[in-house]
């Protein structure tokens, strides 16, 4: 549940590997966190299939990261790439807002982002 795609530590930066680099900071298995994970996965699969890198981090286990990444609210999704950096707080249930913040058009399966 916690670490679905990669290991929690975002060790060596592999930026060119994916167009979208998203870090989701959650707080254990709280309802908000669970919902957030489910929602972001759905959105990514739906809109960014194959060109995203999602990292889910439990800040209970990595409290030092919370400081480094300036996490205040939980859950928080940080869009690292592409710039500008955005922080999406909340359980990501408002899909329209999420897409807007991620810079994705609100059209299902529209691949042309550039």
């Amino acid at each position: 549940m916690l670490n679905s795609h990669q290991e929690t530590t975002p060790g060596p930066e592999e930026e060119p590997s994916a167009e979208y680099v998203l870090h989701l900071y959650i707080t254990g298995a709280t309802p908000n966190s669970t919902r957030a994970v489910r929602n972001i996965k759905a959105i990514c699969e739906q809109h960014l299939r194959g060109r995203y890198e999602l990292l889910i981090i439990d800040i209970y286990q990595q409290p030092a990261l919370a400081k480094r990444e300036q996490i205040i609210a939980a859950p928080t999704l940080i869009k690292k790439q592409p710039l500008p950096l955005r922080r999406l707080i909340g359980d990501l249930s408002e899909e329209k807002k999420v897409l807007e913040a991620l810079g994705l058009p609100d059209l299902p399966l529209s691949n042309s982002h550039e």
Binding site: P63, I72, A74, S93
Partner: protein
Amino acid sequence: MQDHNATSLVSLPQLPKAPTGIDGLDEITEGGIPKGRPTLVCGSAGCGKTLMGVEFLVRGILEYDEPGVLMAFEETAEELTANVTSLGFDLNGLQAAGKLRIDHVHIDRSEIEETGEYDLEGLFIRLGYAIDSIGAKRVVLDTIESLFSGFPNQAVLRSEIRRLFRWLKDKGVTTVITAERGDGSLTRQGLEEYVSDCVILLDNRVIDQITTRRLRIVKYRGSTHGTNEYPYLITQEGISVLPVTSLLLNHEVSDELVSTGVPALDDMFGLKGFYKGSSILVTGTAGTAKTTLAAGFANEVCAKGGRCLFFAFEESPQQLVRNMNSVNIHLTPWLENGQLVIEASRPTLNGLEKHLVTIHKQVSIHKPDAVVIDPISNLITVGNIAEVRSMLTRLIDFLKVNNITALFTSLLSGRNERQEMTEEGVSSLVDTWISVRDLEGIGERNRGISILKARGMAHSNQVREFIVTREGIQLLDVVIGPEGIVTGASRLTQQLHEQAQARAARLELERKDRELARKRLVLEATIANLRTEFESVEEELRQISYEEQFRQRPSNGRNPLADAAEGGQSTTSADQ
């Protein structure tokens, strides 16, 4: 302070308190802020809220060995560190020593998008992590209200802040939360609703172009506390809330005596001087040699081997030294060997509190036996009378508690020389009150000195005329004329008059002596004359008697004729 606490702790256990280590604040709060509970510090911009928070942490670490966490919402760790370096706080060193954690919480509204339900657990985790990593006992949240700018959902925010304070309380850390002052409420976001254990309000007021910062404890649940507004300062050593040193009058007193520096003035006091540790007020109108008296006193203290601190609000040290040289008070040697320190500044340089703190600081540095403030009346230009009075009360208390003899001069305005209250109203606070005044007569002005009060000793009731000469201050003997005590030219007149009288009396005496001598001569001459006369009469009588005897010897039967002649003569004379 410690003693005071000890005595008040006799019966029931008091609310545990965490001493802040901030100068004066622990006195007002009677021991510190509530231990293990949140305290709200609110105030407008520039009040020193952040500084108070930082100082609370630093002093906690240095003086009470309580590690601390600073969660800064407005400034980065670097900025904070740089800001407080000037106060001698080494945040980097403390961080390296594992005593301090600074966590800068960066909030950028433009980056944040709300996309559903959330809480502030991230903040809790960070704080919890920081606290646990160093075993912190103290936490400062510097302007947590910044959260309100970053997170639009107020309902969530408020409930989370409430939860945060609860959580901090449960963790048992003493927390200081700073908040911006709001309109009509203590804080802009109404944080006082959540933090209800202790609320400290800081205020920054400009009155007549002089800024005064004030601190007030709005509430302190479960404890008594000072309720007034206390001025406080941000000094080079951090925040200093003004010393409310002795709220009780129970200081030690001394029986030692200190000379006034003018021998004749000493004589006016029953015990030949002031008590050490007492406070003396010298009042007088302009030009009545108050400063000279003060300098004379300072000189005397130094000459006896003591240390003196002289606050001059009118003259520069150089000017003072030069002027006093002209009246044979030489301050230079004392200045050179450090026994005398002259602190000269314009009263308007600082607010009253700053002056008070300067005095406190200088006193703690120089540890003087006597302090002279010349004059206190000038401080009125800085604050209103009530403020000056309260400042002077504190000052006099402070000096008394430290057994420092204090001499203040005060200028009285114009005509109301006999005013029983000086403008500052300190006359009831001082132990000895000397009044110097003009005795204005016909065409001249003389100085008179008198003792209005001297607690604890007999004193002269006379108004003595004194003159400032090249040899210093001299008190003249009292001259009583036909209409009371006379001074100045009248004194001269009186003296001349007396001299003339004495001379006349002497001449009169001489004349009488001579008269007597003459009379004696006359009498003696008369006696001699009489004696001569007597002698001649005596001789004549003797002659007659001789002749008589001579005549009677032959007439024994031999010269009846002569007898008859005698008899015949006597009969004829009887017939006539």
